[in-house]
Symmetry: C2
Subunit: 140 residues, 2 copies
DNA sequence: TGATTATCAACAAGTCATGCTAGCTAACAG
DNA sequence: CTGTTAGCTAGCATGACTTGTTGATAATCA
């Protein structure tokens, strides 16, 4: 994702107004590695800006997603998560606490076997599930 | 997944009654490579057994899932899909028509890099997205 | 300053999945 | 064969997540 300053410029250029709400969300996403849901991002935002609406958070995330500034990741466990890291990367998910980490896989493109003649692969999504070190430690 | 006959035995052994509805679902899933949703499975079932309820389809799929006879796959696009293939395999999804194919990846376990010391990986899920041959042909 | 757009609140709707009730029916043990 | 029990269906409700709508207010930016 671009920096908050670059996003301000980009929004203005596209005819979107630069509101305090949008700027707040830009800042909260900047360098954010937590893979937050709209809801959790809203909670953090509401602390710094009481009165901001969940609807606006969803709206701004959709705009950023449409612009390719964030990706939205469906890990198949509840709400969609948003990721300002738009590099080619994959995810490691702790089944216990739900924490999500970025990981990079070098063996791509992967080879596969199957009855799928003529299929053109455009993207590959890998999710590793397991138990993080902290959860392993707590349950020991 | 076990054969319908084996499932009948297994259900009986666990104290579950063997009803025509359950047996129909066993048969519809047997060798099924379509990765159906509960809804689509219900539609097929209802043709052969008018009056069967969607609730019962969901219920039986949950039971089979709890028994490990089917896996449920969340591809992040709408409803969960059910898969009687419980081998270690992955999926290829056409972004256009939504068809899902089984694929087998040999390079597992995959290596990855990232700041994830001590994480114990229990499972890996790979989804390849792209365009199937039929959709490529139609759009050409 | 003025036109445009965003925001908010409140409410609705849609999708997917599950829960609950009541009454009827069917399975299976004895 | 029969009684007990479980499962079935219809109908309605709930829940999580997400998006749409409307109308009033406020802020942005040319
Ligand atoms: Mn990420
Ligand atoms: Mn499969
Ligand atoms: Zn954990
Ligand atoms: Zn296709």
């Amino acid at each position: 994702m671009k920096t908050p300053e670059e996003l301000v410029a980009r929004f203005r250029k596209q005819g979107y107004k630069v509101t305090p709400q949008r700027q707040l969300i830009f800042r909260l996403l900047n360098g954010n590695t937590a893979h937050p849901t709209a809801e959790t991002l809203y909670e953090v935002a509401a602390q710094q800006m009481p009165g901001i609406s969940l609807r606006t958070v969803y709206q701004t995330l959709s705009e950023l997603s449409a612009m390719g500034e964030v990706q939205h990741i469906d890990l198949g466990s509840g709400a969609v998560r948003f990721d300002p890291n738009v590099d080619d990367h994959h995810h490691l998910v702790c089944s216990t606490c739900g924490v999500v980490h970025d990981v990079y896989v070098n063996q791509t493109p992967l080879h596969f076997e199957g009855d799928v003649e003529g299929f053109a692969v455009h993207s590959t999504r890998i999710v590793f599930s397991g138990e993080c070190a902290r959860c392993a430690h707590l349950s020991a």
